[in-house]
Subunit: 213 residues, 2 copies
DNA sequence: TGTACATCAGTGAACGCGCGTTCACTGATGTAC
DNA sequence: TGTACATCAGTGAACGCGCGTTCACTGATGTAC
């Protein structure tokens, strides 16, 4: 096959590579982004600073300009994962509309729960990363925060009269435990791979609404 | 300090070591046992075949007589952890006695739930190992099986009239999700370390009993 | 507007490490006759 | 009862690997005067 055109492209790429400036410009963001990709398909145990540096095209030691240790990177990735989860909850919630505020508040609550489980099923490694035990804690609150989304949703149900105010204190943890539990069960090794869990998910979510009444 | 007696002991030990037979005798069991200890204080990521061989006093390659790969050992440890969990559930259940069968069935159910969470709190690394994603599956059913303990307990409640038979199918997953969820939440990095979760645990377990009625 | 200089963000080589796994081997055990 | 031999369960050395982290360094950038 003729290779002149390809050669031009190749040289173009080589030039791009050679033109690579000494300063990356946004190395920290690039590292976190690359790390999210790695976690997505290898899990958080597959994260390696050297590997990320390679991917981003930078020397291993450059990563230490931005993260004091691997563990700090892990913390960032974990938080990112939680924030990604929170964003999908918001999208699911805002997808539910209607004028009956009471009914809408319950439907939104259930949509959030369903989206939570769906995130875990679709992105098991990110979900795992989101709640991984981690030696260093986040220095910034999650934004958006899945917990806040849940609490707000329950507050809406209380305002709309779908849940009695007496449940205010305990309701978030009850709801979170239920959806989190079925999520981890369905994505763990004890759940037979490839088998749908739709019925179980529906039953759990229905039980939550029921137990908050 | 005089060292004659100590020397005798020391020589005794040395002789013991030198007397070590060529064949270990129960290497497989010794490896699994050592692995449980490692997992208990380093987590499952800290498992290394070489390290175990060292601990047990055997060459690294000897482990391959008993496990085709590290992953197979991980599977065994994971199953062991689940069985340990199941045993604590049985103990907790059998600790509840009484003549009122209906009341007893509910109290046993709740005791099992509480023991489940307590196991996770007391042995977070074993709990994590029990449900770790694992590339090879177990070849033998868990014995005892935590799932069976739970199902039996619900069956008892149904017989005693504490739970309507119509809930038979969905009840186990609802209950399991709740206790499993709060367990993973409380042992994950998002729960502030050292803060008691007793109130939340009680609220979740009460909500489960409520939602099964 | 030009320049000296501090600071920042990279490089590249090296350190020491432990890992999983394989290989040819040998010592111990059990079994058929 | 003794013995030849297959099989089992170890040894020990080596392979190749990738990792986190440190170090002395240099190129680029921004800022005070």
């Amino acid at each position: 096959m003729p290779n002149d055109v390809n050669d031009v492209n190749m040289y173009g790429r080589l030039v791009d590579m050679l033109d690579k400036p000494y300063h990356h410009g946004s190395l920290e963001e690039a590292l976190v982004g690359a790390a999210m990709n790695v976690v997505e398909d290898m899990g958080i145990a597959g994260l390696s600073l050297r590997d990320l540096a390679r991917t981003v095209g930078v020397s291993p030691s450059a990563t230490y300009r931005h993260f004091p240790s691997r563990e700090h990177l892990v913390m960032r990735v974990s938080q990112r994962s939680r924030e990604a989860l929170a964003r999908t909850l918001l999208v699911a919630r805002d997808g539910i509309v209607g004028n009956n505020t009471k009914r809408r508040s319950v439907e939104r609550f259930e949509a959030i729960g369903r989206a939570y489980v769906q995130f875990a099923v679709d992105q098991p490694t990110l979900f795992e990363a989101a709640f991984a035990r981690c030696e260093v804690g986040p220095t910034t609150p999650d934004d958006p925060s899945a917990w806040s989304v849940l609490v707000d949703s329950i507050e809406q149900m209380i305002s709309a009269g779908a849940v009695p105010p007496s449940r205010r204190k305990e309701a978030p943890m009850i709801a979170w435990s239920g959806v989190h539990g079925i999520s981890t069960i369905v994505t763990s090794s004890i759940w037979p791979a490839g088998v749908s869990a739709d019925e179980e998910i529906n039953a759990v979510i229905a039980s939550l609404t029921r137990s908050l009444r």
